[in-house]
Structure formats: C-alpha cells, structure tokens
C-alpha cells in the first residue's frame, strides 16, 4: 500500500486516494472502510424502517381502517421492529466500533480483518433475507411481531415462507454479531498501544467491549431458539407446540434471554458516544471515569438476569425476582446520569451539533429511564405491558436515546472519517426538527397507552379517548421525518462543498484526533505518549498531564 501519512500537510482530498473504487470497497478488509460500510448500510435500513413506521402512523392517524389492510399492517410493524433493532441500531454500533476501536487504542487494524469483512457480508446478506421475508410469501409477508412467538409463528398459523426467511436472516445477523464481538474483544485486549492500559481506555471502547461480550452471551441461545422454531415449522419438530407436548413459554425464555441483553447492546455503544462528546464540548475530563466504567460493567452483568420482566403477565415466572433485578439495573444507569451532569458542571459548554444531540439524548433517555422503573414493577406491568405506554417507553430509550446518540456520532466523527465537515447551521435545524418531532410523536403514546390502547392494532374504535393523541403522534412523524430528510440534504451538500475539517476540528480527547482526517491506511504514522485517558488532549495541554515534566503555575478556574 503506497499511501503514507504526512502529518505536516493538510489532509488530501479523498477523491485523489487510489484505493477508492467499488472493487476496493467490496474486497476491503480495512476496519475503517468496513466501519463506514456498516454505518451506511445500517442507515439505509433506518430509512426503510422509518418509511414503514410512517405508513403505520398514517393508518393510525384516524379511526377506521383506511389505507392498509390488517395483514399488511401486521407485516409493517413486524419488519419495522426487526429492521430497527437488528439491522439499524445494533449494526450502526458495530460500524462505529469497527471504525473507532483500532483508532482509539492506537492499533493499525482489527485483530481479524478478514473475519471482520465476513461479518459485514453476513450482516448484509441477513438483512437482504429479512427484507425478502417481508413480501416474498404467498400469504403476504411475515406477520408475527418481531419476537416471533410460537404458536403464532408455528407452521399452523404462519404457513408462508416469510418467517423461514426471517429466521435464516436473523441467524446470519447473529453470526455476524458474534464475529464482530470476538474481533472487538480480541483487538481491545491484545492490540492496545504502549501506555494504553485498560484504565486509560476511551469510554466508547469500554462500552463496545461490554456490548461485544453481551453479544457473545445473548445471541447463541437465541439462535438455538430460532433453529428449534425452524424445526417446528419445516421438519415436524414440536419443541414449542403445546399440542405436541412442547411449550411456547420455553421459547419466550430463550428469546428474551437474547432480547433483554439486546436492548443494552443497542444502548451501550451510544452511552459510549455521548460520553466521548460531552467531555469534549464541556472542555473537561469525564467526571468519575472509574465509576462510569464500573457502572457499565454492572449494567452488562445485570442485563443477563432481567429477561423475564417481558413475561410478567404470563403468570409462569418468578415476578419478584425478575422485578428486583430490573429495579437494580436502574442504579448504574442513574450513576451514569450523574457522571454526565458532573462532567458538564464547571465546564465551558460549546453547543456544537454533536453536543446538541447528546443533550437531546439525556433529556429523552431520562424519560425512558423513569418509565422503565415503572415497568420494572410487576403489578404496574399488569396495566402497562403490551400497551402504547410500553411502545413509547422503549422508543424513548431506543430512538430518543440510541438514535440521538447515532446522530451525535455522525456529526462528531464525520469530519474524521471523510476529512470534511457537515454544516453546523443545517445540523442545528436537523436537531430541532428531530427533537420536537420525536417528542410530539411519542409523548401522546404514553397517554393512549394509559387509556388502554394495546400495541399492534391496525384500527381502534372511536370514543375511547384515543383519537386525538393518535393524530398528534402521526403529525409528529411529519416533523421528525423532515429532520431526517434535512440531514440527508446536509450530507449531500457538505459532500459537494467539502469544507476541510483538519485533523482535530473539535479539540478531541482520544487518539483518533491525533491522526489525519481521514486516517491513513494503517491509522498512525506516529503515536503520542499515552499518559491518561485523554492522549490527544495531553498532547495539546501538557500542563495538565499527570506525571508530565511540564508544570504550570496555576490552573484556569
């Protein structure tokens, strides 16, 4: 590879780089290219999943069935859920991890570059199968809800080929998750630059390591459940069929043993993202680094013991035990909130676009957290489970949290990945539209949920107090979509304008800001000394570096 980094010269325009054709992208094993491919593919799935959600909100804007028949509607929410969880948020986190982990720890690439490439193509192939499952079936697409509960997903009630394609697609995605998980863990444990101890590891990397461990723990049982379900469907197995002596509850246990760690797989990388952005834009170190890492580990550990809170209304699980575990997980999450507030406290906050999205994350996720504590209570779940209250709760965590984290990450690392900036002005409008649109969409869903509206219904009767909130919610989607469209406009116009970003446009802390934008093929031509969790900051401010020979008279206060 002929490309060499010259730190003294400004970043070369990406168009002049030699290895940039389609073949180079398809055959690449470079973690940065794969990271970008993961993120771009995942974002395309976000647009598809969002369009499905828009169709659902159009149907629900008014009572009566008007636009979409029930079968198509059931397919819409099934595929919307699968896409957003398995093909958008989770792989976007994998993409960020791919791009950033080697850069943040000072490594030239991932430990297993070819496994990494294979992981991407498994994900892309699995995604394709999932898309096919939505319509390639005589009886319409798969329409079982994203958690595929038998007996509904069994051969008798879902005879079409849709669920089979979905199961195979999900199995490929699960294998891909395991591959990337092994890679992230191995890379972080074995390839850190000299001086990069685990207690100096950037917080984003810590969070994706815990995410990767959760993926390794949670996905294999789910694949087992999916394979058993496939046996039931195609080979006459009766693992989950009560008529054949099977038990549908066993499936629920296996599924939620994936399903609950999965929600932390969806949120932890973005906890990591905003814990990178908030300190940078507060111009301060993270408050309570050690406590934050311990909280992350605690969340990872506890998340494997809470799964049956999805089953409080089945009447066949030990509600108090799982309820207690679920309450407990609120504690480390609460600790993180105080870490973020403590980081902003006493800072010099610069409200750049990544910071705006991070603040949006805090404001939205808090509501998701508070309602999560309500749902941890089994008796409250008797009312709230499977209602729109629950739908709103998890959108406040997954969309108001993770997706806002994704946009914070896009605006924060875009200049690093491509060498040019996105527009601050458009970015602020994207944030305002998305924040207002998001809250307008999901706040009314708390109200209808409490008023008794169940999820997954194509239609509802008038006179139950559900009409107005549903209309507001549907209008909110228009505002939210305008924000997403404006982001696409920003991406395309900025790509044309190519305002050079420089190596470190934000005053970043971690190692990726100590190389060029975009980074050279092997990431670094030289590494700074690593003396703390903020090596790029230490480079600019030797006066604050622990153990540094440079001393200053006084800290600014």
């Amino acid at each position: 590879m002929s490309l060499t980094a010259e730190r003294s010269t400004p970043a070369p325009a990406p168009a002049e780089r030699p290895h940039d054709g389609p073949v180079a992208w398809i055959t690449t094993t470079d973690h940065k290219k794969l990271g970008v491919m993961y993120c771009v593919t995942a974002f395309a799935f976000f647009l598809i999943g969002g369009a499905l959600a828009g169709a659902m909100r159009a149907e629900l804007a008014d009572t009566g069935g008007q636009l979409i028949g029930p079968q198509a509607y059931n397919t819409l929410f099934t595929v919307h859920g699968i896409i957003m969880i398995f093909l958008f948020v989770a792989p976007f986190g994998v993409g960020l991890a791919n791009y950033l982990v080697p850069l943040q720890i000072g490594a030239p690439d991932m430990a297993f570059p070819r496994v990494n490439a294979m992981g991407y193509w498994f994900f892309a192939g699995g995604g394709l199968l999932v898309l096919l499952s939505s319509f390639a079936s005589d009886a319409g697409g798969v329409a079982t809800g994203w958690y595929l509960y038998p007996p509904l997903s069994g051969p008798r009630y879902s005879p079409g080929v849709g669920p089979d394609l979905l199961i195979l697609g999900l199995a490929l995605v699960a294998i891909s998750t395991v591959m990337s998980g092994v890679n992230v863990i191995t890379t972080t444990f074995l390839m850190r630059a000299p001086g990069m101890t685990m207690w100096r590891l950037p917080v984003f990397t810590w969070n994706v390591v815990v995410t990767a461990i959760l993926g390794l723990v949670a996905f294999p049982p789910a694949v087992a459940a999916f394979v058993l379900l496939l046996f039931d469907r195609r080979l006459g197995g009766q693992a989950f069929d009560p008529l054949g002596g099977g038990d549908p509850i066993v499936y629920q246990h296996l599924f939620w043993f994936l399903g609950h760690p999965e929600v932390y797989i969806l949120i932890l990388p973005f906890f990591g993202v905003i814990t990178e952005t908030i300190p940078v834009f507060s111009r301060k170190p993270l408050f309570g680094y050690t406590g934050f890492i311990l909280a992350t580990l605690a969340i990872g550990a506890l998340s494997t013991g809470v799964w049956a809170h999805h089953m409080f209304t089945t009447g066949v699980v030990d509600n108090p035990f799982f309820s207690a575990m679920t309450f407990t997980i609120a504690v480390p999450t609460g600790v993180k909130f105080f870490n973020w507030i403590g980081t902003m406290w006493g800072g010099k906050l610069a409200f750049r676009v990544p910071m705006l999205f991070s603040i949006g994350f805090l404001l939205n996720f808090l509501i998701g957290g508070v309602t999560g504590v309500m749902l941890a209570s089994a008796p409250l779940d008797f009312q709230l489970a499977d209602s729109y209250f629950l739908v709103s709760h998890f959108h406040y965590t997954m969309m108001g949290g993770s997706v806002f984290g994704i946009f914070a990450a896009i605006y924060f690392w875009w200049p690093k990945a491509f060498g040019y900036r996105l527009s601050e002005r458009l970015g602020r409008s994207v944030f305002v539209l998305m924040f207002v649109g998001f809250n307008l969409t999901f706040w009314p869903q708390f109200v209808v949920g409490l008023r008794g509206m169940p999820r997954r219904i194509v239609d509802y009767a008038p006179g139950l107090g559900w009409d107005t909130p549903n209309l507001v919610s549907s209008l909110g989607v228009v505002v939210l979509s305008a924000g997403v469209v404006l982001f696409l406009v920003d991406a395309f116009t900025s790509r044309r304008r190519r305002t050079p970003a420089g190596d470190d446009p934000w005053g970043g802390f971690s190692l990726e800001w100590a190389t060029t934008s975009p980074p050279p093929e092997n990431n670094f031509s030289s590494l700074p000394r690593i003396r703390s969790e903020r090596p790029a900051f230490d480079m600019r401010h030797p006066e604050f570096t622990p153990g540094s020979s440079v001393t200053t008279a006084e800290e600014p206060s």
Binding site: T144, G288, L363, G452, L471
Partner: protein
C-alpha cells in the same frame, strides 16, 4: 385530508387534556379492588418519577445555562479540570439504591394483594380465547357467551360481572397466545394454550368497560374486543338465570 388548523387544535386539546388529568396522568383509577391497589401503587411511582425527573432536569438545566461558553470567551477555553469526587459518587450511588429498594418493596406488597386468589370465589368465569374471539362460560350455571368471529365492524361479546362480589377468572387459549385486558381494571393476563391462568376481580363500580386482546395473535387481533358490564348482583343473578333457561331450551 385534515387541515393544519385541525392539527393545531388537536395539539392544544392534547396539552389541556394532559395537564387536566392531574395526578393519574390519564391512568384509569381502577374499578376493582385489585385495580385500586395497583392505582395506589401507580400514584407513588408517578410522583416518585416526577420528583426524580424534576431533580435531574433541574441539574441538567443548571449545567447548560450556568456553564455555557459565553460569547466573550474563546472557543476551546477549558473548564475546571477535575476528575472525580469519591464521597459525592458514593452518595449518588446510594440514593438510587434506596429509592429502588423502597419502590420494589411497595411493588412486591401490591402484587401480593392484587394477584391473591380467593379459595371461595362467588362466581367462576371461564375465558377461553381463540383466533379471533372469546368463549366465556359460567360453568356453575351452565351459561356460555361466545363471540362471532371478530372482524372490522363486528361487536365483541358482552359479559356481566356482579358488583362487590369476587369473580375468579380462569383464562386459557385454544390456539395461539392471546391476552385478556380490561384497562379500567388495570389488569391483564396472558391466555396461553395448554395452561390456565387464574386471577380474581372484585368490581367496585357499576359501569361498562372496554376489553381487548393485548397479545398480538394474527390478522384480526385489532378487532378481538369484548365488553364487561358491571351490574348490581340482583341484576346479574337475573341475567344468569335467564341465560341458563335459554341455553336449556336450545339444548332440549
């Protein structure tokens, strides 16, 4: 198509309706003894949530306003470089622990009371869910209420429950998983094939309540509704006697 003005009107209505819902925030108050228990718990969780959210939002707002970079300050000027404060961190770990221990304890007690099943119920109601409808039976009296297969425009079946008496509901399904939910009772349970879930309801208020299937069960899930009418025990007994007579006539 609706006009934008309708949307604005809808927004205002929503804002008013949300603020006027007072402490319950739209949650029904519970029309059974069991539901009232759950409503009391909801009140506690709701206010605890408001207090915690207000505190955290207050701290965030203070940080954002007090510590924003002023125009005269150059971009990139540093804040005070402090890293940690162990006593403070211990305090903000212990406080959430105390909160969740209290909430869990309250929740545990409520579940015990709301889910306790009387050994001697006044009425037994068997509820069998199927795709897509309900087969309700009062086995002691030999009365059955079966719904038409549900579809858009088909009204669900109507059952009666006596005010102030304890009815044991024995819930099951004969095909896929469904769920029995009456929002005004603040209570739902899954109807699982091969299992029977048992719970008690003791209505405390005369009224007509909307019931739904709340576990997705296939194409006509949205229309799998039913109605529960809570009536005076005398009216309930009369209805049951009439219905039993009709069933006998049909049988003979």
């Amino acid at each position: 198509m609706r006009k934008p003005a309708a949307g604005v009107g809808a927004l205002i209505t929503l804002a008013v309706s949300v603020t006027s819902c007072s402490s319950s925030f739209g949650m029904p108050r519970g029309s059974t003894e069991q539901g009232e228990e759950i409503f009391d718990l909801w009140q506690i969780f709701f206010w605890a949530g408001i207090v915690v959210a207000a505190l955290v939002y207050g701290l965030i707002a203070w940080s954002l306003i007090r510590y924003r970079r002023r125009r005269r300050e150059p971009d990139g000027e540093l804040g005070r470089q402090f890293h940690a404060n162990a006593p403070l961190e211990i305090v903000y770990t212990v406080i959430p622990i105390v909160i969740v221990v209290v909430l869990f304890t309250l929740s545990f007690g409520t579940e015990d009371r709301a889910s306790s099943v009387s050994p001697t119920p006044d009425v037994v109601l068997r509820a069998e869910a199927f795709s897509w409808g309900w087969r309700f039976g009062y086995p002691d009296e030999g009365v059955e209420v079966v719904s038409e297969p549900s579809a858009e425009g088909v009204p669900g079946p109507e059952i009666l429950l006596p005010l102030g008496r304890t009815t044991r509901i024995e819930l099951t399904s004969n095909d896929v998983i469904h769920a029995f939910w009456v929002a005004d009772f603040l209570y739902k349970r899954d109807a699982i094939p091969g299992r029977v879930n048992v719970f008690d309801v003791t209505p405390t208020e005369i009224g007509t309540y909307h019931g739904v299937c709340s576990e997705f069960c296939g194409i006509h899930h949205a229309y799998m509704t039913f109605t529960v009418r809570v009536v005076e025990p005398s009216e309930f007994d009369a209805w049951l006697t009439d219905a039993a007579a009709i069933e006998q006539e049909v049988a003979s």
